[in-house]
């Protein structure tokens, strides 16, 4: 990541998936702290809390209880303070409708979670590489 001290916000309800992301990030030597929230609502509370530090990127699952990823995007992308934070969707959904909705709401990327952990590490490596090169406002 371009800014090494800003947190990465991971919105994910599956404990093993959280472990997977953490482990993969560690493996590719990403040192940013990872803040994980288990649904859209919790993540929103974090983002709206003036105490918490704004993340440099949001990794977002789509299928979650209480508030799913699309509902979360609908709020975040209409919030003047939050809409510039890049959101990368990390999901198992390959439904066209989910992809269309996500991009309509201005996501920066859409990655399918591979079943194979090694492939997952490669996905994380690409995300990191991209957001290391890319300028941010």
């Amino acid at each position: 990541m371009k800014v090494p001290n800003k947190p990465i916000l991971l919105v994910e309800d599956d404990q093993v998936d959280i472990m997977t992301v953490n482990r993969a990030l560690k493996e590719i030597h990403v040192t940013n702290p990872v803040v994980s929230r288990e649904n859209g609502e919790d993540a929103l509370h974090y983002l709206q809390d003036p105490e918490s530090e704004k993340p440099c990127i949001i990794l977002l699952d789509l299928n979650m209880p209480i508030m799913n990823g699309i509902e979360f995007l609908q709020i975040v992308k209409h919030d003047g303070q939050l809409k510039r934070i890049p959101v990368v969707v990390l999901t198992t959904s390959e439904e066209q409708q989910d992809k269309v909705s996500s991009f309509n709401l201005g996501v920066a990327g859409y990655m399918a979670k591979p079943v194979d952990y090694r492939q997952f590490v490669e996905v994380m490596r690409s995300i990191d590489a991209y957001w290391t090169i890319s300028e941010m406002p």
Binding site: M19, R23, V115, Y117
Partner: protein, 502 residues
């Protein structure tokens, strides 16, 4: 002037010239004169008739009454015109009878009273009358025996006729409804509106029901209603207009239709549910599978120094089975997507499709694939049609067991379809498996030897059939297999399934 011309002509000349058969007879009934048409009418030479009794020209059973009538007539002679005159039967010389109209005129000659009878054969008129009577009887029979209710109304909407079927249908008897407004046969609000409909039609001539027919609601005497088919025709009787309505109770048909719609609805929702089920299930199965995969990977990595060879082998098998399950779930997803997710139908050049598929499959040098004749361009969803060739060709390559593999792709027009064939000289398939290979998850080789999800041919079959084609296999064990499939030559569109927009 007439008198002037006729002067000098004898009375006999006049009578001879009359076109109708004319007989003059005296008060005893003896014939004094008969003109030529009498000969034609009765078949006697007229000289033979003169002097005979008039009764010779009548059938036996008429003679006595006729005798009395003649007497009556001569007692009180007066002219009787044709048609209003007496209807009698005439008897010809050959014994045959015919109906005739007779007019009588008294003739006073000197002191004698004679009678001139003009006879008119009414056979043609009788025939026409009989025909009319018969056709009326036939119409009446139709009216009374018709299965459909028939109701006739006048221009004011008042009921004129009401047949037995209508009586059964509405529960009224004809005498109860004649002269009443036809709107009593309809429920509100049609009841109130009908006079308006009729008035508007009479004024504008714009036909809403007449000659068209439609489904309406009828109301019985007891107030219950029922759906009916109504057909109205218009008749003119001189200045007056009449309307005839034919009605049929369609309650049963309606009920059947509703039942069918209901069943269709159920079927559709069941189908929809099934489609979603496959998707949701496979989707939800993937998440835990991914966790298992990751955890196995970490165990193998983090505890590498603590695991013996057997433990490592078990973890390797675990990972490979996870991959296989992942493949199966992908297969279900792919299978459920056919028909569920729709693509735009475009012109697809199959020649190009097959070449692209072959490029991606990259068959080994030992296998030659030839396209025997140019393949057509069809209207289809590109991904689906590509999947068909991709699966069939990849199977042919994957299972090839000969040092020199040969695969042929061919196509020909067959009636309204294109018939494609993909043949190989591979291991072949036993006849008992011809059906089974097209079922989901059916493979003929152990999975450890050939990695296969068992989805490919099921997918191909589903796509081909969705487009209205058919697929079958022909094979000889040891010599090879040929897969035949057809696609309609007219625009290939998926009509049979409803799906979400891609």
């Amino acid at each position: 002037m007439t008198e002037h011309l006729l002067q000098g002509k004898s009375q006999e000349w006049l009578l001879e010239s009359v076109a109708d058969a004319t007989i003059i007879f005296d008060r005893t009934g003896r014939i004094i004169f008969a003109n030529p048409p009498v000969e034609q009418l009765f078949g006697y030479p007229r000289q033979e008739l003169v002097g005979k009794s008039i009764e010779a020209l009548l059938p036996e059973h008429f003679r006595q009454t006729h005798r009395d009538r003649i007497d009556d007539y001569f007692a009180k002679p007066s002219a009787r015109a044709l048609s209003t005159g007496i209807e009698l039967l005439g008897l010809r010389q050959d014994g045959s009878e015919f109906p005739m109209d007779v007019s009588l005129s008294p003739l006073r000659l000197q002191q004698e009273l004679l009678t001139m009878a003009m006879l008119h054969d009414t056979t043609p008129r009788k025939q026409a009358e009989d025909a009319l009577r018969e056709s009326e009887a036939r119409l009446r029979a139709i009216f009374y025996t018709a299965v459909d209710g028939i109701v006739t109304i006048d221009e004011c909407g008042l009921i004129q006729r009401f047949n037995p079927a209508a009586e059964r249908l509405f529960g009224y008897i004809e005498t109860e409804v004649i002269g009443r407004n036809v709107s009593i046969l309809m429920p509100a609000p049609y009841q109130e509106a009908h006079d308006g409909y009729l008035a508007r039609y009479l004024q504008s001539g714009e036909k809403k029901v007449i000659g068209i027919g439609r489904e309406v609601v009828g109301q019985r005497k007891d107030g219950t209603t029922f759906p009916m088919d109504l057909a109205v025709s218009e008749m003119r009787q001189g200045e007056r207009r009449m309307f005839t309505g034919t009605v049929r109770d369609i309650s049963e048909r309606k009920q059947a239709e509703e039942q069918r719609d209901c069943l269709l609805q159920e079927l559709e929702s069941a189908n929809e549910e099934l489609k979603n089920f496959a998707y949701v299930v496979s989707h939800d199965l993937k998440a835990p599978l991914r966790a298992i995969s990751s955890l196995a990977d970490w165990l193998a990595t983090d505890y590498a120094d603590k695991l013996d060879d057997e433990g490592k082998e078990h973890l390797r098998l675990l990972t490979s089975r996870v991959r296989r399950m992942d493949g199966l779930i992908d297969g279900i997803l792919q299978y459920s997507r056919v028909g569920r997710v729709k693509e735009a139908v475009v012109a697809v050049n199959l020649d190009r499709v097959v070449r692209e598929v072959l490029d991606s499959l990259a068959p080994p040098a030992s296998i030659t694939v030839s396209i025997d004749n140019p393949l057509p361009t069809i209207m289809s969803e590109p991904t689906r049609i590509q999947q068909v060739f991709q699966n069939l060709l990849s199977n042919a390559i994957k299972y090839m067991d000969k040092p020199a593999g040969e695969i042929h792709v061919a196509c020909g027009a067959e009636g309204r379809h294109w018939k494609f064939s993909i043949s190989d000289n591979g291991p072949g398939i036993k006849q008992q498996h011809f059906e089974k290979i097209f079922q989901l998850f059916q493979t003929l080789a152990p999975r450890d030897r050939v990695e296969s999800s068992g989805v490919g041919l099921a997918l191909v079959k589903k796509i081909v059939e969705m487009y209205g084609g058919q697929i079958r296999v022909d094979s000889t064990v040891g010599q090879g297999s040929t897969f035949f499939f057809t696609l309609p030559r007219a625009s290939v569109t998926a009509i049979s399934t409803k799906g979400t927009q891609a």
